[in-house]
């Protein structure tokens, strides 16, 4: 049993980022920034078609280039186990299952020689017919067994059709979101050294122990002989949550030059088809309400893609199961397996696209019923979690909406769309709700007394920009009753006790719980005064309240949008978010987490789309020039607030995850504001100027 953390001297303190000084100086070494003697450079070769077979590979010209050490192909690559995840089983056959798939790699003494030689390898293929186009009525659509991570794919509760038929107000709308890419600023990189003694990887990853386990399994190694080092990670957003195929390629190449470090950094064009993405979605939402706006039925029906070789089912409609009260409810996910790269996690998988649709539909209902969109949400607050019947451990949605309305200046807003002009700009405002579940995984922490009131805390957590270096030390300080400066924290290395992935906004909950548990044990074993050298290693226990309460964070987004009536360009003038996410461990780093999510949500609303040319099965937006992520000029001053929330159920710190909720609902608030500004309901993201032409 782990006790609640009652000392709150360090937790809650506004502190500078612990790794900030190293980072502003550029001295925090990311994965690729190892410069060992004798390093070799690897450049991958990509499949030129979306489906087919390699008939010949001619590497002669490449091998003749000065400095080239070898060319890897399916003809000479080591065999990988049959049961390995299919996207990782590269170079096992001449089959091509998506365009841009790794079909080989060139290893050379210098990056220049490797790149030059890669351009000389000739890959001949027999192309087969492919299909990369998701469609609502695709004949191959199927219902998966579960959706990520293990929710049912379908739920049905009550008589949805009957309730919809007799509802006073109803909306029946379909939204589309495109394929998205995580695009962390640090691309996926690996530096791997393979020797008889073992394998060492510097990997840009959200999960050192996960990478270790996967590499060991793929290559038949004892995990103890594999070490994965990742103290600093240049963003991930889910894209580095699992090992991707580039690291497999690097390990294969490293085996050919034992003892020599092999360096691989993906270019954007190599990364886009090989490191995960968010599926496109088509979402039909039907809402039925009484005259006063109370929902009688909610239906959320989703179509999305997966790859033909592996199934990843984004849980797009899952938040709809717990968000609002309704007498009848149906949710369903269908997948179409296509000749596309394998989709994977991207910031708030499920909630991000799903809440865009639900929260947009709520706005449409508010317009149809003539009810203020905030009031509409308040009227549909459930007393208990509609999906489980359990009470919420805390539910701050209404508080967030009310506080946001106050701060944003919502009162007196004229609901009439398309009537506010400022010169050629049309102006409008919108609101949307946010939610994200509290997940806890498993992790182990070690706490060691150094004497003199100083402690070492070790756990293989990863800081991908979230602030783990900072907040875990704050938590440890309070758990041990010392100052933050007395904590020596080590993370980001699989040689440390195992930690769960930095994903699902579960890092602080999981790792913090492990640290508090180990600290409490150490103090208890030594009457509160452990001597130098005393040490405890402890696991984060499962949450004892998991079966009794539903645990989620909530939030509310407000946006003011200006739309150029000549060009159709939409710009966000103001954005404000209020969140209820339990205890905030460090206000400074927390604000950044929320803000970062909101910024990515702004990009999702207005800019981001990975576009497939279905004729060729090719992604035609494979870099940062074609795939526009929000830039400085796109992002206004953002306001972030939170309400004080005491939640004794979630974990000893009372904190909820904050890495993902900032993006959830943000695009809906902006889309709703675009409608309020223009009267135009754009139901397909991103809201680009072509969709807002002819406003006059």
């Amino acid at each position: 049993m782990t006790d609640q953390l009652t000392r709150r001297a360090a937790v809650g303190e506004d502190r500078r980022r612990a790794d900030g000084r190293l980072k502003v100086l550029g001295q925090a070494r990311y994965a690729f920034e190892q410069l060992p003697a004798g390093a070799a450079y690897l450049v991958p070769l990509l499949a030129p078609v979306a489906r087919g077979r390699i008939t010949a590979i001619d590497a002669a010209a490449a091998l003749a280039v000065d400095g080239v050490l070898g060319v890897l192909t399916h003809e000479n690559a080591p065999a990988l186990p049959e049961h390995a995840r299919p996207p990782l089983r590269i170079l096992q056959s001449p089959d091509i299952t998506h365009r841009g798939q790794f079909v080989g790699g060139v290893l050379a003494d210098t990056p220049e020689a490797a790149a030059r030689a890669a351009g000389l390898v000739r890959v001949e293929v027999d192309a087969a017919a492919h299909d990369t186009a998701l469609a609502w009525d695709h004949p191959d659509a199927y219902v998966p067994d579960t959706v990520n991570p293990d929710y049912p794919a379908v739920t049905e509760d009550g008589d949805v059709d009957g309730a919809l038929a007799s509802a006073a107000h109803a909306v029946d709308v379909t939204y589309r979101t495109p394929m998205h890419h995580n695009h962390p600023m640090e691309p996926h990189t690996t530096v791997v050294t393979w020797s008889d003694a073992g394998v060492e990887l510097h990997e840009s990853t959200q999960h050192p122990h996960g990478v270790r386990a996967t590499v060991a399994e793929l290559f038949g190694l004892d995990p103890e002989t594999v070490r994965v080092v990742a103290p600093y990670v240049g963003g991930g957003f889910g894209g580095k949550g699992q090992l991707h195929a580039h690291a497999v390629l690097a390990c294969m190449a490293a085996q050919t030059v034992p003892g020599r470090p092999v360096k691989l950094a993906l270019t954007r064009r190599q990364l886009v088809p090989n490191a995960g993405h968010r599926t496109p979605t088509i979402q039909r939402v039907r809402l039925g309400a009484e005259a006063d706006g109370r929902l009688v039925a909610i239906e959320h029906d989703v179509a999305e893609h997966t790859s033909r070789i592996t199934e990843f089912a984004e849980q797009t409609a899952v938040a709809t199961r717990m968000m609002y009260a309704a007498g009848a409810r149906r949710t369903r996910h269908r997948l179409v397996a296509l000749d596309v790269p394998a989709p994977s996690w991207m910031r708030a998988p499920g909630e991000t696209p799903g809440m865009y649709a639900l929260e947009s539909a709520l706005d449409e209902l508010a317009c149809a019923a003539g009810i203020d969109p905030i009031e509409l949400r308040v009227r549909n607050e459930p007393e208990t979690d509609p999906s489980s019947g359990k009470p919420f451990s805390s539910r701050g949605l209404v508080a967030c909406l009310r506080e946001g309305a106050e701060r944003f200046g919502w009162a007196g807003r004229d609901p009439e769309p398309g009537v506010r002009r400022d010169g050629r700009w049309l102006v409008g405002s919108g609101v949307a709700a946010a939610t994200y579940p509290v997940y806890r995984q498993s992790a182990t922490a070690r706490v060691r007394a150094f004497g003199g009131g100083r402690f070492g805390v070790t756990i293989a957590a990863a800081d991908i920009g979230t602030g783990a270096w900072t907040v875990l030390a704050q938590i440890a300080a309070d758990a041990l009753g010392v100052a933050v400066e007395d904590i020596e924290l080590r993370i980001g290395d699989s040689a440390l006790p195992p930690a769960s992935v930095a994903g699902g906004s579960s890092g602080t909950t999981t790792w913090g719980t492990a640290i508090v548990t180990a600290a409490q044990k150490l103090l208890a074993e030594h009457d509160g005064d452990p001597p130098a050298g005393a040490e405890v290693t402890a696991d984060a226990p499962p949450n004892p309240h998991a079966d009794d309460v539903a645990m989620h964070a909530f939030g509310a987004h407000f946006a003011e949008v200006r739309v150029d009536s000549d060009t159709g360009e939409a710009r966000v003038a103001r954005m404000l978010g209020v969140f209820a996410a339990g205890r905030i461990v460090n206000p400074r780093t927390a604000r950044s987490q929320f803000m970062g999510g909101m910024t990515m949500g702004l990009g999702m609303a207005l800019h981001e789309a990975t576009i497939l040319d279905h004729r060729h099965g090719a992604i035609v937006t494979p870099d940062l020039a074609e795939y526009h992520v929000a830039s400085h000029a796109d992002v206004p001053a953002l306001e972030v607030h939170w309400i004080d929330e005491e939640d004794p159920y979630v974990n000893p710190m009372g904190s909820k995850g904050i890495g993902e909720i900032g993006i959830v609902g943000a695009a809906a608030a902006i889309g709703n504001a675009v409608h309020h500004a223009t009267g135009r309901r754009v139901r397909e993201l991103p809201i680009t100027p072509d969709k807002l032409l002819g406003l006059g």
Partner: protein
């Protein structure tokens, strides 16, 4: 291989480079200078921004041999001695970084940008191109738009720059 000399953060570093080597790769892969980051290698992200003879340059878009004899300043060399540059201090105060990967580029870009504005360079956001520009938030955002931050620290980066600029 061609012999060149780069002065990096005040230290003279002679080296022999492949003529195809970019300034960025020369710094990172030859000299172990880690402050300039590689986010795209194509001039699309700004992570590799350094100051060359005081002006901001995308080091992935220039060849090392073109910079023979140049004074290169990276984020590691912006401050005086062991102290941080005031902009770097402001970045820490405003939490203008998360993963930190874009950060050295943002800082070099900001230093170069403030210098350009001080010398009267106009930007797309400048209403009167003949007047000395005032660094409004809109001007800062426009002038910093070559530096992407996927973590979304923009709002804090702008506050940090504004504080130092004023």
């Amino acid at each position: 291989m061609l012999d060149i000399t780069l002065t990096v953060d005040g230290v003279t570093r002679p080296l022999a480079v492949d003529p195809r080597t970019t300034l960025l790769d020369a710094l990172r892969e030859r000299l172990d200078v880690t402050a300039p980051k590689k986010g795209c290698d194509h001039g699309q992200c700004g992570a590799c921004t350094v100051l060359v003879d005081g002006r901001r340059v995308l080091s992935c878009l220039t060849l090392a041999v073109q910079q023979d004899g140049a004074q290169v300043t990276t984020a590691a060399g912006l401050g005086e001695g062991d102290g941080l540059h005031p902009l770097a201090e402001a970045f820490l105060d405003h939490d203008a970084l998360q993963c930190g990967y874009c950060t050295p580029g943002q800082l070099c870009s900001a230093v170069g940008m403030l210098d350009e504005a001080g010398r009267g360079h106009a930007s797309h956001a400048t209403a009167d191109v003949a007047a000395v520009p005032t660094l409004t938030d809109e001007e800062i955002r426009e002038r910093m738009s070559g530096n992407l931050c996927r973590c979304g620290a923009y709002a804090n980066i702008v506050s940090a720059i504004r504080e130092v600029a004023s």
